[in-house]
Amino acid sequence: MSDLLILHGRVVDPTIGIDEARDLLLRDGKIAAVESPGVLKNIEAAETIDASGLVVAPGLVDVHVHLREPGQTYKETIATGTAAAAAGGFTSVVAMPNTLPVNDSVAGMEWMLSPKRGAVVKLFAMPAATMGSMGATLTDFAALHKAGAVGFTDDGKPVLEDAMMRDALIAAARLGVPVSQHAEDTHLTGGCSMNAGPVAFRLGLRGMTVEAESRIVERDIRLLREIESAEGLRPHLHVQHVSTGRALEAIREAKRQGLHVTCEAAPHHFTLTDEAIGDYDTNAKMNPPLRAEADRQAVLAGLADGTVDCIATDHAPHAAHEKEQEFERAPNGITGLETALGLALRVLHKGQGLSLSRIISLMSAAPAGIVSLAGRGSLRVGSFADVVVFDAGAEWRFDAKDSRSKSKNTPFDGAAMLGRVKATISEGRVVFRR
């Protein structure tokens, strides 16, 4: 593969402790050199990107996306979803298994990860923890891991049975990968379509309580403790899209006790509250739901103090006809790949004062570490040449109709963004350029 130079940029990479002017040489899909300005001036590269005034950072990593293929290609395909990822600065995405059929087999993994699917950036998959995500029988963790599983999850459906979750944590621990849990006690959320509280009461909608989330998190943490003492294993629980202060408090305490718990927060949960539902806007409907301001503040605090390990989008495309329905009937989920960086910089960097380096870590090295993506999330020499180049100061508005995703279901249509992706490079190939 030919050389690619990225010159004159401000390289921000927390994994190598750099936040200063550096030039990058990408060669054969890997980072070949990170040098002070001028050092690479004699290199003859096939392509050069002038990153003057721009930030050059490790390509972003999203451990939670729904690409809808196989089975629901009218919402999204692996090709369109990863194109949206590239436009959002992501170079690695982890596909959830709630496709049709559910990704619970080696054949399913191979099909999904095949080059024939046309993924624009590096695609990883997290297959189901139980067959068909039905919660009854564990999938073949060892075989799936061999086929590339970076973790196991029944995302969208929590693993509710204690015994099943314990078995999943043990099996995953033996392979050194996490069980990623959608924390929702569905016994408490029947018929619910938003967060419980005054807004739900006013809208006449049944609400999910914070306990429905925290109870499962607390249960899972208890299982970790039991497994550590009884089995001598160190299971890894990853809590998806944590949205409540109460769940975060449980995670904070578990970390203090040294248990292996990680969690992700979604941009919509740190940006919006349930007030965003307005006149029953189904583009503000997702699960877990938008919460009250106190919970949003708790997520912000968790991001600031490190309780939240990474940002993940839970990119969940749905067709227009599915969202143009009665609120209670409309499916959960919003797109998120193209708005994540712009919201993180606006809300967390400008709004909360988190450093650029910290935000980049939350969106690259940290998620890559959670699912052990070797050679990703860093610009260290020898790593994959996954790079994002963005204008950290650019203020713009997101326009859903310009999205690369097949679906336009976002509450951020027209919303203010800070920071705009100028180029995304996946394993040395420029996969997005603006």
């Binding site: 005054p198 807004v199 006449g204 049944r206 006149d279 029953y280 006809h321 143009e324 009665e326 609120f327």
Partner: protein
């Protein structure tokens, strides 16, 4: 965003709007039948009902007919809705058939917003899930203004119900009538006391707005009441909620004895359907304090005004009636 003349929530109405509706209601009521029947002659109104209804449906339909409009009733039981047609497509179909206004009753909260957005037609919310029933709140206001001494039922101001305490008792959680009233009455000067057990009345109800209190003890609430509005337990929406009905009756039924002991002069309202012997004793429903039948006839009058408002683009209040 929503067509002029739509009524989706009482929050859409200013006090001036309420006043205009009350004034037109009164004028319509006094009009000769033949004159009234010219007002919407040749206009087409669709009633789209996804839930059963006696009072609301009949009064909207009779109101439309008394104004000379042509009506058509589409219900979920006897239409392509049963075959899976969406609310959007049902609305677009009615519009294509010439409907100029749709009256919607639907079990999902917020459904009228979907219909109004997708069709661009004026939509009148005739009850959506647990959310709102705005025309009911308006007819309740009119009933109160007609029955309470010294009030003016021909107009509304922020003082129309000043000094009036309205107790709303029962299944507040599932009640769209409670929400619409609790949001509208304080804006006309009333104090609203919501009364019921915690499972049917969460504290979150206080978030509906100012001028609302939660009082758990019915007798205590009644002692402050000028108006008491009783609500049915909505068995169809309880969704697994267990309720001891015998205990509920003891604590929250409006019996003749309880009324006489605590609020002998209070006006008694019920939006219906009522279950005699459960939330309200038959003797109270039929007694001298009751304005329940007057509520029903006011429903017809107020809904006539709402239809006229929906179909008169601009200058609704100056409509010569």
């Amino acid at each position: 965003m929503y067509a002029e003349g739509s009524l989706l929530s009482v929050a859409d109405l200013s006090v001036e709007d309420v006043s205009g509706i009350l004034a037109v209601t009164a004028r319509l009521e006094r009009m000769a039948h033949v004159d009234r029947a010219r007002l919407l002659a040749g206009r087409r109104i669709a009633l789209l009902f996804y839930e059963s209804s006696t009072r609301t449906r009949t009064s909207f339909e009779l109101a439309a007919k008394s104004l000379g409009a042509t009506t058509t009733l589409v219900s979920d039981k006897s239409s392509s809705i049963e075959k899976g047609e969406s609310l959007k497509d049902t609305g677009l179909t009615l519009r294509a058939l010439g409907a100029e206004c749709i009256i919607l009753r639907h079990p999902s909260s917020g459904a009228p917003f979907v219909l109004a957005r997708e069709t661009g037609l004026p939509v009148l919310n005739a009850g959506d899930g647990m959310h709102e029933h705005p025309s009911q709140a308006l007819l309740d206001v009119r009933t109160m203004l007609m029955r309470l001494p010294g009030r003016d039922a021909f107009a509304a101001t922020p003082q129309s119900l000043a000094g009036v305490t309205v107790v709303i008792t029962g299944d507040i959680l599932h009640s769209r009538v409670a929400r619409s009233n609790a949001m509208l009455l304080p804006r006309l000067g009333a104090t609203v006391l919501l009364c019921g057990p915690e499972p049917l009345l969460p504290e979150a109800a206080l978030g509906l707005g100012d001028g609302i209190e939660v009082v758990r003890n019915f007798d205590e609430a009644l002692r402050r009441a000028d108006v008491v509005m009783m609500l049915r337990i909505q068995k169809e929406r309880l969704a697994g909620l267990e309720l001891d009905l015998a205990d509920y009756i003891v604590r929250y039924q409006l019996s003749g004895e309880r009324l006489a002991a605590n609020a002998p002069d209070a006006l008694v309202l019920h939006p219906g359907p009522m279950i005699r012997g459960l939330e309200i004793a038959g003797e109270v429903a039929d007694g001298p304090n009751s304005a329940i039948e007057q509520q029903v006839s006011n429903g017809l009058a107020v809904r006539s005004a709402l239809l006229l408002r929906a179909l008169s683009t601009g200058g609704f209040e100056s409509v010569t009636v």
